[in-house]
Amino acid sequence: MYAQRVFYAKCLIWVFAFIPILRLVWLGVNDDLTANPVEFVERSTGTWALVFLLLSLSMTPIRLLTKQVWQIQLRRLLGLWMFAYACLHITTYVWLDYGFVWADIAKDIIKHPYVIVGFTAYLLTIPLALTSNSAMIKRLKSKWKTLHQAVYLISILVILHFWWLVKKDVTEPFYYAAVLCILLGIRVYYKAIASKNKL
């Protein structure tokens, strides 16, 4: 019944998801990636990974608020785009920023709290991406859900990563943190109601 709607929504996500990449390529070709292109690409890919993370976390709140369920089928695609941007982000860091100098990268990760939390968040997304296909969902059964609840931890680590990286003006990470709080808050609220009704 919703198959067509899901299909169109997925098409839209694919188009939308390619825009930031194409923009970076376009700016890169035109030598317009600001005075600090590496930082610009790092920031851009990181921000879009966060946006897709928050979008994937929005599907359940939409269900809770609207009682609609079809959009849950978009969650995997949104999550995988988050992973794709996270991969671009970390590639930018390892390659463009640190030029594969592993000793310096290791030092940077160990010494700087914002890098540790960001790197940890990235590592945690890998098993989620690997187990996102239908076969793995079937195979892992109830364990799959437990495993994928790691996304909550990832989202908090990512916000910390952004917050700690900022020198002084935390306005931008604050907005993202506020959105995450709302998304998690809705879940907690409905969970509280549900457990109350059970009693």
Binding site: A35, D97, Y98, G99, D104, H112, L165
Partner: protein, 338 residues
């Protein structure tokens, strides 16, 4: 101006760089004109009867002074020095669009776009504290204290990036001599402008305004220490700290107080803005030091602005490659006094 630059550094200035700069300046004029339009719009809405006349008048008035500054005040006369020979200069466009100057906003592009209302003339600096007599010096008199020199200095930001900038200025020592500090003067404190009307960032309490920086007297008198009034042979753009800023190339960039309005000679170490903001992250000395890390940024290497997407990092040198300052810190534990 552009021809001048070509003559001085034929190998370093590419003709391709000239276009973006003109485009950039055009954009500034456009922004100014747009701002004038906005003001005119406001006038129009409040004074309905004078709407059209008001618009035309404001627009014309706004354009004239800008054009005048461009024609008469931009070029500086200066002598060249050996500092920075062989360094590849960072593009004018990058030097003037990628700035940390929170008085105009916290984004790197904010200073260039939000500093158009700032007026660097008329300007004077008040000299206070441990001096024979408190006095004031106008920017014009300051420029007469010593012949202007061009100094090509590396600038290393605490955030892990660096530039090479051809500053024009005079040694701070010449102003100190004129100021006649007394024996009680152990440190020098710089206070920057914080005019909320023309500096929109000041309206937000990101930092404790006004911006305060400081040096020990020997650092202040060091021949490397410069009061910059220009860059690339031109009067300092607003976003780079017009009309006069401090440049201490062996220290992190934040030591360079911009738009200085007050200089105080003091006995005790000044509590500088960034030290107040994060004493565990920023020290009073703030000497470039690849061996003392920052909780956020790697300090052993840096990214050179303008080197491109695939250039990687370069090693950061002790005192940013100005070893001559080392003797001032002989015997000091630079891990403790970072």
């Amino acid at each position: 101006m552009i021809l001048d630059n070509n003559k001085r550094n034929p190998s370093q200035i590419q003709p391709s760089e000239i276009t973006p700069r003109e485009v950039f300046e055009d954009r500034r004029h456009f922004i100014k004109a747009a701002g004038a339009g906005l003001i005119a719009g406001a006038i129009a809405s409040t004074q309905a009867t004078k709407a059209i006349a008001g618009e035309i008048k404001t627009d014309a008035n706004a354009k004239k002074p800008a054009a005048k500054t461009g024609a008469t005040q931009k070029t500086l006369t200066f002598k060249k020095t050996a500092y920075g020979e062989g360094e590849k200069l960072t593009k004018f466009e990058d030097v003037t669009t990628y700035n940390n100057y929170y008085e105009f906003g916290t984004d790197k592009s904010d200073p260039a776009t939000h500093s158009t209302l700032f007026k660097p003339r008329p300007w004077s600096i008040s000299i206070e504290g441990a001096v024979k007599k408190a006095k004031t010096i106008s920017i014009e008199d300051l420029l007469k204290l010593a012949p202007l020199e061009e100094r090509i200095y590396r600038m290393r930001c605490v955030e892990g990036w660096s530039m090479v900038i051809p500053w024009v200025g005079l040694p701070l020592a010449s102003l100190i001599k004129w100021a006649e500090p007394t024996g009680n003067a152990k440190y020098i404190e710089f206070i920057s402008a914080n005019d909320a009307l023309t500096m929109p960032g000041v309206r937000v309490p990101v930092l404790d305004w006004p911006y305060v920086e400081g040096l020990r007297m020997d650092e202040a008198n060091h021949p490397l220490t410069l009061l910059a009034v220009g860059l690339y042979g031109e009067v300092l753009p607003n976003q780079n700290g017009a009309p006069v800023r401090l440049v201490t190339p062996w220290k992190y960039g934040f030591k360079g107080a911009k738009a200085i309005v007050k200089i105080r000679f003091v006995e005790k170490m000044p509590v500088t803005t960034w030290v107040k903001t994060g004493p565990s992250e920023y020290g009073f000395y703030a000497n470039v030091n690849p061996f003392v890390d920052h909780p956020r940024w790697t300090q052993s290497s840096e990214k050179r602005i303008g080197a491109g997407l695939f250039a990687g990092r370069i090693k950061t040198e002790m005192f940013n490659g100005y070893p001559e300052v080392g003797q001032m810190y002989a015997g000091m534990d630079l891990r403790k006094y970072f």
